[in-house]
Each structure stands twice: as C-alpha cells, then as structure tokens.
Symmetry: C2
Subunit: 139 residues, 2 copies
DNA sequence: TCATATATATGTATATTACATATAGTATAC
DNA sequence: GTATACTATATGTAATATACATATATATGA
C-alpha cells in the first residue's frame, strides 16, 4: 500500500514511503562497538552488521568504508594495512580511547532514543487497545 | 568533546559529531498518532511534538508543515481552513483511513527498531559490565 | 504603534543514505 | 590457462532528509 514512489521535483518532498524509521547514523556506534571487542577490518565488520538484526538489506559497503575513514580522520580509530594473510590486503582498525568515549556517548543517546520509542509505543497501544479507530474520516 | 564541526568540502563527510541517533522521519508517525486522537493544525501539533520527549530542541516548523502537506498529498490526512476562531486562520487536519493504516505500519516498524536498539544496548552493557576497557589503544 | 504571539509557508544549505561502479588479489572449477 | 566467484577497499553521484533562514499575515496587549 505504501510502496509507490514519486517523480522527483525540486523542493517537493519525494521519498520512500516505507515506514522503516531507521536510526540515523546507526552504523557508526555499531562499528565502534564491534571494534571495542576486537580489532577488525571493513569487510568483516560489514558481515557482523549483517548479522546484527537489521531488517534492512545488507549494509551498504560504501557506508561502512566511509564511516571507518571518517572515524579515523576524527581520531576515533586507527588503522594499518594487514598484508600477512591470504587474499587482498586488509585495512585493520583499532579503537582509540577517543573512539571508546564516543561509543559511550552513543550508548547514552541510544538509550534515550529507545525510551522515546517506548513512550510512543505505549501511548499508541494505550490508545488503540481493543478499540475501533476513532476520529478518522472514511475517505 | 564531540562538538566541533568541519569545513564543508564536496564529497568529504561533514556532520555534527553529537551522537544523537535520531530516528529518520520520526515526526511523521508522531503527527499521524496525534491526529488519530484528535483533528488538529500545524501549530498545535508542533507544541505536542515539543512535549513528547525529544531531547532535541523544538521541532522545526518547516518539518511539521511540509510533512503535513506531504501526508495530504498522499491522502493520509485531509485539511480545511478554520477561520472561525480568533487569530490567523488555521489549516485543520483530519486523519484518513489510509493515514490510519500508515500509522499502524509505522508502529510495527518502530517496535522492531526499538528491539534492535535494545539488542545493541544489551550487548554493550554485557561487554562493559564492571570492566576496564579492552582492545583500546592508548592514543 | 510597537512588540509579541499565533499561524502557515517557502528557499536553500547541509547532512545522510542508496545505488552504481572501479580496482585488484586469490582460489577453484572447468 | 582462463573464466568465474569471492574477498577486499574505494569513490562518484543521485536521492533523501534535516537545519536554518526568512517571508507573510492576523490578532493582542503594553
């Protein structure tokens, strides 16, 4: 019912109507968290994101690689090439103390965000509990 | 620590470093839900958003008004001018049955999203439970 | 009348995500 | 030996979403 998309027109809103409600920049805290457990590289981190519980399709490699580079630019991770293994060289990332602080900050923000979603859902459930829709036009 | 922002350069990532992790398009389900309880107009809905629990600053009027117009274009709400009251005319919005269906779809998506955040937080808490940071360089 | 509150709306810069594509090393199947 | 697939990183750009600025108009109270 909400799948059709629209012609792009400047300054007219055009978007996917699917109510996914994704969390903005959620890959960033995930990467920080994965790295807090173990140093790793883009391709493997991508696979872990994939198994994390996203209902969305596979995470975009571009997102993963660019986020890692951004985090490095900010001093939140550091990297070095790993050419020791078989296969193409990997860029191995390690969390820095600044990155750890950022992860903790993210965790606080995510906890608050989760509470807001809970508040929404509680009010929603309360309102529609065993109830026919009200205040809704038949159009 | 994460407040500084960067010079804009094309195709270089530039963003606010605050880990807000806002939920994409969250005003949309909020507006739908508010309207499911009572027909209303932009300015009042804006105030309700303000009291909903956002840690963010006041919601942007542009977001509210444009989202309402978008929802009307999609047939999820309908509006008519209310000139009966004192003050400037209000555009009064009413939820349609399509809008109600969209609200229900949003609620499902939000519930899933909340679970993902919970999963993240559980793993995070588990990992850092009474523990000194590990695998973190001292840089 | 001047400031303030109410009310709606648009313009555009910035931020974020999605999709496409490029490159290259290695393995294995034929 | 070479075509194919998998591993691995990276960039270009279109589409989407948010943030900030600003414009307009009505009404109220100092």
């Amino acid at each position: 019912m909400f799948e059709s998309s629209h012609l792009a027109k400047k300054y007219k809103i055009k978007k996917c109507e699917c109510p996914s409600g994704k969390m903005t920049r959620f890959v960033e805290p995930c990467l920080l968290f994965f790295l807090s457990r173990k140093s790793s590289y883009g391709y493997e981190l991508m696979e872990r994101l994939n198994n994390f519980g996203f209902q969305e399709a596979k995470p975009d490699p571009a997102m993963v690689y660019r986020t890692l580079r951004y985090l490095e630019k900010e001093g939140c991770v550091s990297s070095k090439w790993d050419t020791g293994q078989a296969g193409p060289a990997k860029r191995n990332y390690t969390l820095t103390s600044k990155g750890l602080a950022l992860l903790h900050a993210w965790a606080e923000g995510i906890a608050i965000r989760r509470q807001v979603l809970g508040k929404f859902l509680n009010q929603y459930k309360e309102h529609f509990k065993g109830k026919k829709p009200l205040n809704v036009s038949s159009k």
